[in-house]
């Protein structure tokens, strides 16, 4: 608990990071709770109000950001879109962290042939533009919610795999591992009981940084029409839908893109702050701000 309290105090000292944290908390809260209240509003077409301009309050609060080409209020759709955008990114990051971490543990601990196979597979994924790969896979298997998550997770697995492996390579030479082995612990027990707790914090840090990357990747896929399919939608798909109406109704494509920027920028600000706090060489920058 005192460690969490310290973290909060350090966060309060960095105004930019604090702002980013608050923004993220609001967005996540809206994504979790908002859809219960506005999902009907977000999906019901109202052709009388189509392409209503933003910043006009006469139609009600949810029309503040204007309406799209079917007259649906954009603010409500942003909230529903947030649920899918953040949900997909969270699921993909968790999947790639778990699978990548697991494979990395194996590849780092054992020198058998399957370690080589794992590493070569990671090479294949790393050495190729992820979007091109995702295009082929999603076109083949169909762009369902599960497939999008799987594809996004696969493209990020090597990052976790390599980090975990590098850490394990170093950790497995330590005394506590030899001690565990001499007391008869099996390889799985050493890996999951003794080594993995030391790797998890590193993986969690990478996951935080990766979150923004995955949101951007998902948005690109959705923009190209290979994200989750209607009636479900994410922010990237909203931008794509508004692209054809740029000159007549710029707001349809503008707001969802801005939401992506705000979310990923906040994530990057927060993770940059976290790295600074975690890095002993740079930590003084944050602490010296304390009065």
């Amino acid at each position: 608990m005192p460690r969490i309290a310290t973290a909060f105090r350090l966060l309060a000292n960095d105004r930019l990071a604090l702002g980013a944290g608050v923004v993220l908390a609001v967005i996540f809260l809206l994504a979790l709770v908002g859809p219960f209240f506005v999902s009907d509003l977000a999906t019901r077409p109202d052709l009388l109000k189509r392409n209503a301009p933003p910043l006009v309050l006469e139609n009600g609060f949810f029309h503040l950001l204007g309406t799209d080409t079917l007259g649906r209020p954009i603010l409500a759709r942003l909230i529903v879109g947030a649920q899918f955008t953040l949900g997909i990114a969270t699921a993909a990051v968790l999947c790639s962290m778990t699978i990548g971490g697991f494979l990395g543990l194996i590849a780092g601990f054992s020198d058998r042939w399957y370690s080589q196979v794992i590493l070569r597979l990671a090479d294949i994924i790393m050495s190729f533009p992820s979007l091109l790969m995702a295009l082929i896979v999603l076109y083949t298997l169909g762009a369902s919610l599960t497939n999008v998550i799987i594809v996004l997770a696969i493209t990020r697995i090597p990052v976790y795999l390599r980090t975990t492996r590098a850490e394990v390579l170093e950790l497995r030479e330590r005394m506590f591992v030899s001690a565990a082995r001499s007391m008869g612990a099996s390889a799985p027990r050493i890996l999951f009981r003794h080594i993995s707790p030391l790797v998890v914090p590193t993986l969690a840090t990478i996951a935080a940084i990766d979150f923004a990357t995955v949101i951007l990747a998902e948005s690109s896929l959705s923009f190209l029409g290979l994200g989750i399919q209607p009636p479900q939608f994410t922010w990237g798909a909203m931008v794509a839908a508004g692209r054809g109406y740029l000159s007549s109704a710029w707001w349809v494509a503008f707001w969802p893109g801005l939401m992506i920027v705000i979310t990923t920028l906040s994530l990057n600000l927060l993770s940059r702050w976290a790295r600074m706090v975690a890095d002993p060489q740079q930590r003084w920058r944050v602490q010296s701000l304390r009065r």
Binding site: S127, F128, L132, Y139, S220, L224, A240, I260, L265
Partner: protein, 306 residues
């Protein structure tokens, strides 16, 4: 050195083979090209003849072996759509993408080295703060969105540049400017971090004590040592830049590999998909080797041993 690059080559060939297997079988899962390419009222006999002509009637593992043996004879197959060699189609689209990505990468790396170094001179100073905000924003923006907003403002609104297509240098300004943001944003942060630790090292103090001018310390002494981490990240960024190029090409209607790939996948033009993937993978593989060589030039301590 030779042994190191030999091992590197062997690993890359294994990766390349894995990629080819994956793409071959995945693309065949999309269905029969006859459904897309023949008219809907084509008779069963016509469909059969089409399949036989292109070898789609063979069992899939025979098709794969045939593909591999053709590949060894540098025969990359025919494009079903364009009646040309698939490699020709792919190579036709490549220069556009390479120019787009290459030019962007050169500009982004140069600008990032300059801005990152200047920001590192006074960490926390005004320039550093501005550079940080700009680079973080650049790394956080979805390029497709920036692209369409830029088209709206600069092409539709102000009429300064054309909205899409290629031809004049004016057509290239907007795509490069948009594509520039992400690599620039990512690289500035790397350069800045590397420069801060380089400027804190003892040899910089020595240079200061000798009375070397500030500018020389930053750009000659510290910069040279910050190049190594920058080059490492620049390699990954360049691979990722292809992703951006695919999106940007579709927004600006550039006839590059991104557009080609998307069209070929939709039309089940397997040979073109495979040829494009093959060239892209080879290009990235060559780039990685070049990066290894650059390492050795930048840091004389690095000796490649396997």
């Amino acid at each position: 050195m030779t042994a190191f690059f030999g091992k590197r080559l062997a690993y890359s060939l294994i990766s390349l083979f894995g990629l080819l297997v994956l793409v071959f079988f995945l693309s065949r899962l999309t269905g029969n090209p006859a459904d897309v390419l023949l008219p809907p009222d084509a008779s069963a006999a016509e469909r059969q003849a089409f399949s036989e002509r292109h070898g789609f009637d063979e069992p899939i593992h025979i098709q794969f072996l045939q593909y591999l043996s053709d590949l060894l004879r540098l025969d990359f197959g025919e494009s079903l759509r364009q009646n040309r060699s698939a490699m020709e189609v792919a190579l036709n689209a490549y220069p556009t993408t390479l120019q787009l990505a290459g030019l962007t990468m050169v500009l982004a790396t140069t600008a990032a080295l300059l801005v990152g170094a200047l920001a590192a001179i006074r960490p926390g100073g005004l320039f550093d703060k501005i550079a940080s905000v700009f680079s973080l924003t650049g790394a956080s923006t979805p390029d497709f969105w920036v692209a369409i907003v830029a088209v709206l403002v600069f092409a539709v609104g102000l009429g300064l540049v054309p909205t899409s297509g290629t031809g004049t240098p004016m057509h290239w300004i907007l795509p490069i400017a948009v594509l520039f943001l992400r690599p620039f944003g990512l690289l500035v942060q790397i350069v800045r971090g590397a420069m801060i630790s380089a400027l804190a090292s003892p040899y910089v103090k020595t240079a200061l004590a000798k009375g070397v001018r500030d500018r020389r310390i930053v750009f000659a002494h510290a910069m040279r040592n910050s190049l190594l981490p920058t080059v490492t990240v620049a390699g990954d960024v360049a691979t990722g830049l292809i992703n951006g190029a695919v999106v940007i090409e579709t927004v600006f209607g550039f006839p590059g590999i991104g557009k080609l790939m998307i069209d070929a996948i939709h039309q089940r033009d397997f040979a073109v998909v495979q040829a494009t993937i093959l060239i892209t993978a080879c290009a990235i593989f060559i780039m990685n080797i070049v990066i290894d060589i650059i390492y050795a030039i930048l840091d004389p301590r690095i000796r490649y041993q396997s």
